[in-house]
């Protein structure tokens, strides 16, 4: 293993450097030059910490307890901080998950890249600028001359991530660490970034340590994969071998949890009553000032949809296409500017908040962010009964019901008196669902309700929603940008772009046989779409099998 670029041996990371409280427990891992190693595993398994310890950037609360991290034979754990500074950006670089926050908001992006050159080379200002511009072009940024002087907030998420990549690669380090670099981006952008990283690796021969929990991404770019669980390595395999024959049960489970892109067959629901119908729903955001002309954004336009009891309607589309706007109009968190919304036959689009109150219980919403959608200062039980008690259910009765609901969503009823921070993200999202169904709604709106969860937890929550829908027969309006998820649970799918509906119909039709260019592009951008993870084989083989079955 003499040519191993990065050799992590028996690495332990403990809270306060305490071997008794290890978070990463004896991890061993090697990357050859030019190779892409994917690090997968559920949230909290120690992926990021491993990466940070290579860079010598562990949070203060944590410290290595044992082992070695050898970069070209030099131990990073014992190197002086001066030496570490010298190695960063020159020998190893890192891209972080959140392109929104990883760049300093008050410095021009070009300068932020140039700073790397300033710190590590003797180039003068002009030469620096030239190098930066070259690099920016290299990562396919448009109008680099003017982009150089932009601030991060003026760039899209994908552009920012490119800036990060340019910054990481400008000194051509042998090792690039990418910690979930695309999780926050929408599919189309994600695809571009993945292509870029692959390209650069091929050109510069950089070794990549790629952290993700998205199996689609793994299928797309990995040479080798390391599966991590609770701080320990489950297995390290070449990608194809792993996807086809996972050795450990955990890896199997992880792969099985990935939703399939193949749409579910539609259910027969046409005879059920309609719970939600919108006609020509439109929303225009006006920002007005006393002294200035307002700016207006048409966020939704002429949205017509119908949702029946027990049915699931998915709304998909890239970021900013107006999905949330539609959802918020339906729940009347904002007032639509045009059109009508009928909930179980009652028009609610323009009635006053007071008149609206009785209808509130019929429509409930679950938000994307499990960390912010529960009030951190209130016991979860109180959060769940808030709605019912508002509608006159006696406290005690509401509490009993809340206990049942907790069990329904797979949590112990005794956990009602705990605070949100005492639950994991997936558990919190389940509590949020329990809160929503505590109102016995006819309609449940889930706005990116599973996007923030890792695959295994996501699978649990999706299953739960399905289960609840079956039991209670509620209509589900499911908003997502993940086509896999849409394919798995939706009867109908609606595709939105720039506030308009571009395609609307049964899931099998829309996703299986897209009519518009836009939908097609969306589907093509889904990473690993050639792979049917749950069945450990490529989609082509599954299709063939299905054909066989049918015939």
């Amino acid at each position: 293993m003499s040519d191993t670029l990065l050799d992590i041996r028996n690495l332990g990371i403990g809270l306060g450097g305490d071997p008794a409280h290890e978070v990463v427990k004896g991890l061993t891992l090697g990357i050859q030059p030019g190779e892409t190693m994917c690090l997968v595993g559920e949230s909290g398994s120690g992926k990021s910490l491993t990466a940070l310890s290579v860079m010598g950037l562990l949070p203060k609360a944590l410290a290595p307890t044992r082992g070695q991290i050898l970069l070209k034979g030099e131990d990073m754990l014992t190197a002086s901080s001066k030496r570490m500074r010298g190695l960063r950006a020159t020998a190893m670089s890192m891209i972080f998950q959140e392109p929104m926050t990883a760049l300093s908001p008050v410095h021009r992006v070009g300068d932020q890249i140039a700073e790397v050159l300033d710190a590590h080379t003797n180039l003068d200002g002009k030469a620096r600028r030239k190098r930066v511009l070259e690099m920016m072009e290299h990562v396919h940024l448009p109008n680099v001359e003017s982009l150089y002087y932009s601030y991060p907030h003026q760039l899209s998420g994908g552009q920012r991530q490119r800036i990060m990549i340019a910054m990481a690669l400008i000194l051509r380090p042998q090792l690039l660490i990418a910690d979930e670099p695309t999780t926050a981006l929408d599919v189309t952008t994600q695809k571009q970034i993945l292509t870029l990283i692959r390209e650069l690796r091929e050109e510069q021969g950089t070794a990549v340590l790629f952290i993700t929990h998205d199996m689609g991404v793994v299928a797309e770019i990995a040479d080798d994969v390391t599966v991590l669980r609770l701080g320990e390595v489950e297995e390290t395999r070449p990608v194809d071998a792993l996807l086809r024959q996972p050795k450990t049960p955990y890896s199997r489970k992880l792969l099985q949890a990935v939703p399939s892109l193949i749409p579910r067959p539609p259910r027969k629901l046409n005879d059920r009553p309609i719970v939600l119908q919108t006609t020509d729903l439109g929303m225009t955001y006006e920002s007005s000032g006393w002294f200035r002309k307002g700016r207006s954004v048409v966020a939704a336009k002429e949205v017509n949809l119908t949702l029946r009891q027990g049915q699931t309607l998915g709304i998909v589309g890239e970021s900013g296409s107006g999905k949330s706007t539609v959802a918020r109009c339906i729940v009347r968190l904002i007032d639509p500017t045009t059109g009508s919304i009928r909930i179980s036959g009652t028009e609610v689009a323009s009635i006053s908040q007071r008149a609206l109150k009785p209808h509130r219980r019929k429509v409930q919403i679950v938000f994307q962010d499990p960390f912010r959608s529960l009030n951190p200062r209130i016991e979860v039980g109180e959060s769940i009964i808030e709605g019912p008690t508002n509608f006159g259910v006696p406290r005690r009765k509401a509490m009993d019901r809340a206990r049942e609901l907790m069990e329904l969503v797979g949590l112990p009823g005794s956990a009602l008196d705990r605070y949100p921070h005492q639950f994991s993200g997936g558990q919190r999202q389940r509590i949020a669902i329990a809160r929503a169904i505590a109102m016995d709604p006819d309609l449940l709106v889930a706005d990116e309700a599973v996007s923030a969860l890792d695959v295994s937890v996501q699978a649990q929550v999706l299953e739960l929603l399905d289960d609840i829908q079956k039991r209670l027969g509620i209509g589900l309006l499911f908003i997502t940008h993940d086509l896999r998820v849409a394919a798995q649970i939706c009867d109908d799918v609606m595709v939105m772009q720039h506030g308009k509906v571009v395609e609307y119909g049964p899931a099998a039709t829309v996703l299986g046989d897209p009519k518009t260019e836009y939908t097609r592009a969306l589907i093509e951008a889904a990473p690993g779409r050639d792979w049917d993870f749950g069945n450990f084989r490529p989609v082509s083989e599954t299709m063939a099998a299905m054909k066989q079955q049918q015939s």
Binding site: K357, F391, G410, Q422, F423, R435
Partner: protein, 294 residues
């Protein structure tokens, strides 16, 4: 579907929380102890002090510290120690009173301004106006307006502080009302009152504690400055501020008259700030998260 057990451990009791705050560092412990002592001194002033703090004795004025008068006497021959101990009462009352009053008033107005956008514009103009008037000048004018009693001094100190609290609360409310859990509460049909009190109000508590300790400390100081400028509480009623203000011309003859109340004042303000910061840290969600991981 797997039924994961939720992590164990109920919420820590209030007392445990308090204990954790107090013992979070030796300095905070010391500060809390000092505050306790000072509050006790205020409550038990009549039992601690050897003399009536108002009793004049012009014959024995400006005496240095002695066995009879532990810290000496002031220009009226009154016992300095007794006056400082009694002064604790008014000074603390002014500090705490101003903090509580400013926080409550500011909270009410700030919640309203933050939540009801229609009232916001008007309220904010008034608040801006009040904020623009220099606070000491406003205080002097108010004291001159209605005579210097503890109440007017309190009002005079409180009014200029209110706008700052309003702004703080308003900004917290403005950002908190965008939180998904507030929207969820709206979707659950909760009344405006309920949303204000249950969901928005608690968010303001941590910053308000910091602001409150700041107001408390600065009120005690402003009272001293008002006394210095001759617009404070009647010198008949001892406060740390007016003891110092009265004693200032004896600075070179009997420096104790300024030194001792100044020392107590500084220790109090220091302690209030330290304890306030510790409470804030304990309430800060980020800090709290760190606590969980531990």
């Amino acid at each position: 579907m797997s039924t994961q057990a939720a992590p164990s451990g109920g919420s820590p009791s209030r007392i445990a929380q308090l204990r954790e705050i107090v013992f979070s560092s030796p300095i905070v412990t010391f500060a809390a102890l000092m505050l306790l002592l000072i509050v006790l001194a205020a409550i038990f002033a009549p039992w601690i002090t050897p003399y009536d703090p108002a009793r004049l004795s012009p014959g024995t004025r400006l005496r240095p510290a002695s066995d009879a008068h532990w810290l000496g006497t002031d220009a009226f021959g009154r016992d300095l120690f007794s006056r400082i101990v009694y002064g604790t009462r008014i000074s603390l009352a002014v500090g705490i009173g101003a903090a509580v009053a400013a926080v409550l008033l500011g909270l009410a107005v700030g919640l309203i301004a933050g939540f009801f956008r229609t009232l916001d514009a008007i309220l904010m103009r008034v608040v801006d106006g009040l904020m623009a008037i220099p606070n000491i000048l406003l205080a002097i004018a108010i004291v001159a307006l209605s005579g210097a009693s503890i109440w007017t001094v309190l009002v005079a100190i409180t009014i200029p502080e209110v706008p700052r609290v309003v702004r703080l609360v308003r900004s917290v409310v403005l950002s908190a009302r965008e939180e998904p859990y507030v929207e969820a509460a709206i979707a659950a049909g909760s009344s405006t009152w309920r949303i204000l009190t249950r969901h928005l109000l608690p968010n303001t508590i941590a910053p308000l504690i910091v602001q409150g300790t700041y107001i408390c400390a600065s009120a005690i100081l402003i009272e001293a400055i008002l006394s210095f400028l001759g617009a404070g509480i009647s010198p008949e009623t001892p406060t740390w501020g007016n003891i110092m203000a009265e004693g200032r011309i004896y600075f070179q003859i009997n420096p104790g008259i300024i030194f001792w109340p100044g020392l107590v004042l500084s220790i109090t303000i220091l302690s209030i700030n330290l304890v306030g910061d510790a409470v804030r840290d304990a309430l800060d969600p980020r800090m709290a998260k760190r606590g969980i991981d531990r």
